[in-house]
């Protein structure tokens, strides 16, 4: 095992560990991240080789890069000594390679003159290869952590690392710019931001040849994110208008924009609770953001008033049963989020393969949330409950994995059992005490 240094992005620190763990698990790599701290962007991990490091970093959204660790110290002198002590023939190995130096400063940085001096100070490495600023064989990176006191600029780092760059993350390769909603042609009010959609797909272990289903597709935010990782995507939504888009601007054109049309299977107008996928249809992964009804009340197919609707199946227009005509519009009725989540878990438990993952977002009010509100199913193990906090409410990324028959979990509708008020009602009353 060798030491590698991971440098994280300053975004969603409480999602970082889950993302890396999942990427490692996806590639069958064992990694211990139990010492990860949400307050530090630097983390030393043990891996077998560069190949493993490359694999866990390549798709990452919440990390920036991974480096083979050559040395560390609290001062430059300590760093030099540490690099010398850990040589083990490494210097010789890269002696003839072209190279350049790179600097990463957290909460502080150096000017060019200081950087130059620093590079000079590593002359003991005695590299003979040419310095190349573009596409060098190796990039040696000096990473520094500064501590900012009050408002003064930090001038001396408190910790330094020296590493050979192994792999920069998807984030550093501009995946966020590419999928930025601002430049996406077809979006809507329910479009999900690209960064967290990509993270969701990483934690859900989306990958090439895997069928990914989003039962609440909307404008297809999760589908395009999944296709970025090679997932074969299929989506459904109860609202045909949002699936259709406007003219040539629609979900399909988004796939065209990103060059992933071969990863697009299809979209269907469907009420998730009356599902048309055949029983043995092979779904590998389910990712979604269920409609919690803030933009629009949550609806499924059915009559709002059953008494009034009775007998309507016998209505005939021009000799045809009305409900069998092409232009018939199926009525919708309100539905509760707790029941919908129940349906989602049940569906996932019956359709996912063993080890397949379900990842979805659930809204919760901050003043009355308790862990037992999270819905559970006896065949699904809850792996992650990751919170993105807003002022009075949060949304949580819940990630479950389907287990085999030996797994004995519990089934419960936590929202219902705890008499949690409809999220929408509380949202529109500003989460006041009275609305509880």
């Amino acid at each position: 095992m060798k030491d590698y240094l991971i440098y994280f992005a300053q975004a969603y620190p409480n999602f970082r560990r889950a993302e890396l763990e999942s990427l490692a698990h996806y590639h069958g790599i064992n990694i211990d991240l139990s010492h990860h701290s949400e307050t530090s962007p630097f983390l030393i991990v043990q891996l077998e080789n560069d190949e493993q490091a490359r694999k866990i970093m390549e798709r990452s959204v919440l990390s920036r890069g991974i480096y083979e660790l050559w040395g560390q110290g609290n001062t430059l002198e300590e760093l030099h000594q540490s690099v010398k002590d850990n040589d083990n023939g490494k210097f010789e190995l890269y002696n003839k390679s072209s190279f350049k130096f790179d600097f990463i400063g957290y909460m502080g940085r150096r000017n060019n003159k200081q950087k130059f001096e620093m590079i000079e100070s590593f002359q003991f490495l005695a590299f003979e290869g040419p310095i190349r600023m573009k596409n060098p064989d190796e990039v040696y990176t000096i990473l520094e952590e500064y501590e900012v006191m009050d408002r003064e600029k930090a001038t001396t780092p408190i910790k330094m690392w020296f590493g050979r760059e192994i792999q920069l993350s998807a984030r550093c390769n501009n995946v966020l710019d590419k999928y930025d909603l601002k430049s996406r042609k077809y979006i809507g009010t329910t479009s999900f931001d690209a960064e967290l959609a990509l993270v969701t797909c990483n934690i859900a272990e989306v990958g090439p040849k895997k069928i990914v289903y989003d039962p609440f597709t909307g404008t297809g935010s999760f589908l395009v994110a999944a296709s970025n990782y090679g997932g074969l995507t299929i989506g459904s939504d109860i609202d045909v208008r949002i699936l259709r888009g406007k003219g040539d601007v629609n979900i399909k054109s988004n796939f065209k924009q990103y060059g992933t049309t071969t990863e697009f299977l299809d979209i269907l107008t469907m009420d998730f609770t009356n599902n048309a996928f055949r029983q043995d249809f092979f779904i590998d992964t389910i990712v979604c953001d269920p409609p919690y009804g803030v933009r629009e009340g949550l609806k499924v197919c059915g009559a709002k008033n059953e008494e009034k609707a009775a007998g309507r199946e016998n209505v005939v227009i021009n000799g045809e049963k009305a409900h069998l005509r092409r232009d018939f519009i199926q009525p919708k009725k309100p539905y509760e989020l707790s029941n919908l989540l129940d349906d989602l878990l049940k569906f996932s438990a019956s359709r996912l393969p063993v080890n397949g993952r379900l990842a979805f977002w659930m809204p919760t009010a901050n003043d009355d949330f308790e862990i037992n509100q999270i819905p559970q199913h006896e065949n699904l193990e809850l792996l992650y409950n990751l919170e993105q906090e807003f002022n009075k409410w949060s949304r949580r990324l819940l990630v479950y994995v389907k287990r085999d028959e030996d797994y004995k979990g519990v089934t419960k509708n936590g929202l219902k059992e705890n008499n949690i008020k409809n999220f929408r009602d509380r949202y529109f009353r500003g989460f006041s005490e009275k609305s509880k």
Binding site: L268, D271, N274, A276, R312, E313, Q330
Partner: protein
């Protein structure tokens, strides 16, 4: 809707879920269009493993294509002859789109429509749940 998708869907009515005749649906009055797509042999081989072949043959027949063999072929993208067959399958499964048409459940007789390439599985109230 891609031809391939016909292999994934059945009647959405709960009472039809366990009936063998609710899959595949019966396709009528379908307007087909060809849409050029990149040929990916590995994708097709992967999909073939998962496809219900007899349902595929049945739907192809509904749409006027009698050329499919009755048994699922075992194809290897390295073999030249197999690539030709894979290209034909690519043309049928991926590039053939149903723009408009009817899908009928052989069990309950309910009619679903495909409009502008999107199938509609929403149910009238009396058939829900």
């Amino acid at each position: 809707m891609k031809f391939l998708t016909t292999n994934f869907i059945q009647c959405a009515v709960k009472g039809c879920q366990s009936s063998d005749s609710s899959f595949p649906l019966k396709y009528e009055e379908c307007e087909l269009v060809a849409e050029t797509q990149e040929f990916k042999p590995e994708f097709l081989v992967h999909m073939l493993e998962k496809i219900n072949w007899s349902a595929l043959v049945q739907v192809a027949r509904d749409l006027g294509n009698d050329n499919l063999p009755t048994e699922k072929p075992e194809l290897d993208p390295i073999m030249e002859d197999d690539v030709l067959i894979l290209k034909d399958l690519h043309n049928l499964l991926v590039e053939t789109n149903i723009l408009n048409g009817k899908m009928i459940c052989n069990n309950c007789g309910h009619i679903y429509f495909i409009k502008n390439s999107i199938p509609n599985f929403l149910l009238p109230p009396h058939l829900c749940n």
